[in-house]
């Protein structure tokens, strides 16, 4: 009897917890829903709802999450009428893919070297890589500037891309997946006469592919919303990526565009997130799970 009573209590408690969690999840998602709602709302509606912030009206912002007259006009506006936006979008693509392609080549090679070869000082090198991966931008900011200044790469997209390519974070992530490849597999491939690069190409890359994708997903989210580096090293506005474009919402005619621009910035990251969530989780866990 007591046992049953207890089970009942537990169920109520669990339901309560569940309700709380679901509510929390909704609250977490609220900004996302809000941005999308704002981006498909007409100017008239926006200026009514947001009047308090935009034009100093009395009262508060009060925006429903469903527009009365949904419209895509703001998206048309930013893609067709504002070439500057398109340039920024393109800059973001260049930075993100420049870094990711570079990391894919340089990072996976290094990860393979660390995972399956022995050489003197390996532990020390790897510790160095971990330290570099964990230092925040502020610590490396001045050194970054000094080298870019020397190489005449300030105010240049390559000045953002190069330090990104040699980031040690993807090496760390992919290394975790490469070490899990059984040595026996490599030994037997060698007995069959496989060369070193063939081991890398036909064994490491296919078997470690989920780790490589995991590091690419994490990298995409990181470089797509990069703030500190472009803000510090780029002066020329025509080089700005989307991630530092903060549209002016206080202008009555621009607030819709601001929402649409936010959504367009978010969209590629969302697609990568939805397509790569499993890999993203594997990548996050690669930082923590012991062997």
């Amino acid at each position: 009897m007591r046992r049953i009573l207890f089970a009942g209590k537990l169920k109520i408690g669990q339901k309560l917890l569940w309700g709380l969690l679901a509510a929390l999840a909704l609250a977490v998602l609220f900004p996302v829903i809000f941005l999308i709602a704002g981006s498909i709302m007409g100017d008239d509606e926006l200026s009514t709802y947001l009047g308090a912030v935009i034009s100093g009206k009395e009262g508060y912002v009060n925006m429903p999450l469903l527009p009365r007259y949904p419209t895509l006009s703001h998206f048309v506006e930013i893609f067709i009428d504002s070439p500057a936006f398109f340039v920024m979008f393109w800059n973001s693509i260049k930075i993100t893919f420049g870094v990711l392609i570079g990391q894919l080549v340089v990072g996976t090679m290094a990860a393979w070297g660390f995972a399956k070869y022995k050489f003197p000082g390996k532990k020390g090198f790897f510790l160095l890589y971990i330290i570099l991966m964990l230092l925040p931008f502020q610590v490396l900011m001045l050194s970054d500037y000094l080298v870019l200044d020397q190489l005449k790469l300030t105010d240049n997209l390559w000045g953002i891309i190069f330090p990104g390519i040699f980031s040690t974070f993807p090496v760390f992530i992919v290394h975790r997946f490469f070490t899990e490849i059984p040595d026996s597999l490599i030994e037997s491939a060698k007995l069959d006469g496989a060369r070193e690069w063939q081991l890398f190409w036909y064994i490491a890359l296919p078997i470690g592919s989920s780790g490589i994708i995991a590091s690419l997903v994490l990298g995409f989210l990181e470089y797509w919303s990069l703030i500190e580096q472009p803000l510090t090293f780029l002066k020329d506005k025509s080089l700005f990526p989307l991630s530092i474009f903060l549209p002016d919402i206080t202008n009555v005619n621009k607030s819709g565009m601001a929402f649409a621009a936010s959504v367009v910035t978010f969209l590629p990251a969302l697609l990568v997130f939805l397509g790569g969530q499993d890999y993203l989780e594997q990548g996050i866990m690669a930082g923590a799970v012991k062997e």
Partner: protein, 292 residues
């Protein structure tokens, strides 16, 4: 003959040594050029005067440590760290334990991970509407007859930043906790339940002790992610935010704009020394478990 064979085998070993180094060479060359050499230059500069490049000993360090803005930034950064990291870790643990037990955990976990993908500019736009003196939050509060305030220009800005950090990183930490939880064998729980242990006792006596090693790693990763909270703070509040959220990155930005490279160099060396201690501890904790 024996010698010959030994020579052969060492030369093969050397060849293997060389191959390993060749694989990491392209990466390491870049690391050397873009990180290590310039960092060495920063260490050198931290002992030199800004204008005359004369050796000044530890003057720059003294200058930095006496600097009011530096003290404020350190104070805020430490305060931020000590409040938001325990909060984040605890909330994430509770969520992870509940989600772990359920079939629909995956969907909710996705919702929690989503903010990770939301670029800081989008967050900033949202925050301006949410925390404006006539913004959404105050609208909700007024419905409850509570007087709102101008959240971002007030000491409450600090709490907005704490909330933002937790909101952004909750999914990340939940995934880490769930990884730790899934490592605990179900058999232990079964055995305990047979012995009549309640769920709560199971949690205290089995779950928590088994999560110790996860806790350490999650703490370090959360700590390092906490530096990224600057992104939202900068985009919402600009170069000179309310003094309660004036963080290290704000300070470095302002010094960079004024070309105070001497101070930047000394502060960078100081901060990296502090972080290094943390990182070596982190590495130790992992090393003990054959991590590398």
């Amino acid at each position: 003959m024996k010698l010959c064979r030994r020579l052969k085998s060492t030369s093969r070993n050397n060849k293997r040594d060389l191959r390993g180094i060749l694989w990491i060479l392209p990466s390491f060359a870049g690391v050397l050029v873009f990180y290590l050499l310039p960092y060495a230059d920063v260490v050198r500069r931290s002992f030199l005067g800004a204008v005359d490049n004369q050796f000044k000993g530890i003057d720059n360090y003294r200058l930095v440590l006496d600097n009011m803005a530096f003290q404020l930034a350190v104070k805020n950064t430490v305060r931020f760290t000590f409040i938001c990291i325990p909060a984040l870790i605890l909330i994430a643990l509770v969520c992870a334990v509940v989600l772990q037990k359920s079939r629909y955990g995956g969907v909710i976990k996705s919702a929690f991970l989503m903010p990770m993908a939301l670029p800081a500019v989008s967050v900033a736009l949202m925050w301006r509407l949410l925390f404006h003196s006539q913004g959404i939050l105050n609208d909700w509060l007024s419905a409850l007859d509570i007087n709102g305030k101008d959240w971002m220009n007030n000491s409450s800005a600090f709490w907005v930043l704490v909330g933002t950090y937790i909101w952004k990183n909750l999914g990340y930490d939940i995934v880490l906790w769930m990884a730790g939880l899934s490592g605990i064998s179900e058999n232990i729980y079964e055995a305990a339940r047979v012995d009549g242990a309640s769920e709560w006792q199971c949690f205290l006596k089995i779950t928590l002790p088994n999560l110790k090693s996860s806790l350490y790693i999650i703490t370090v990763l959360s700590f390092l992610n906490s530096f990224k909270a600057f992104r939202e703070s900068y985009l919402v509040a600009g170069d000179y935010p309310h003094e309660s959220i004036y963080m290290m990155q704000n300070l470095f930005n302002n010094w960079f704009r004024d070309f105070s490279f001497d101070k930047m160099a000394a502060a960078a060396v100081l901060e990296s020394a502090v972080l290094l201690v943390f990182i070596v501890l982190f590495q130790r904790a992992l090393d003990g478990k054959d991590y590398v």
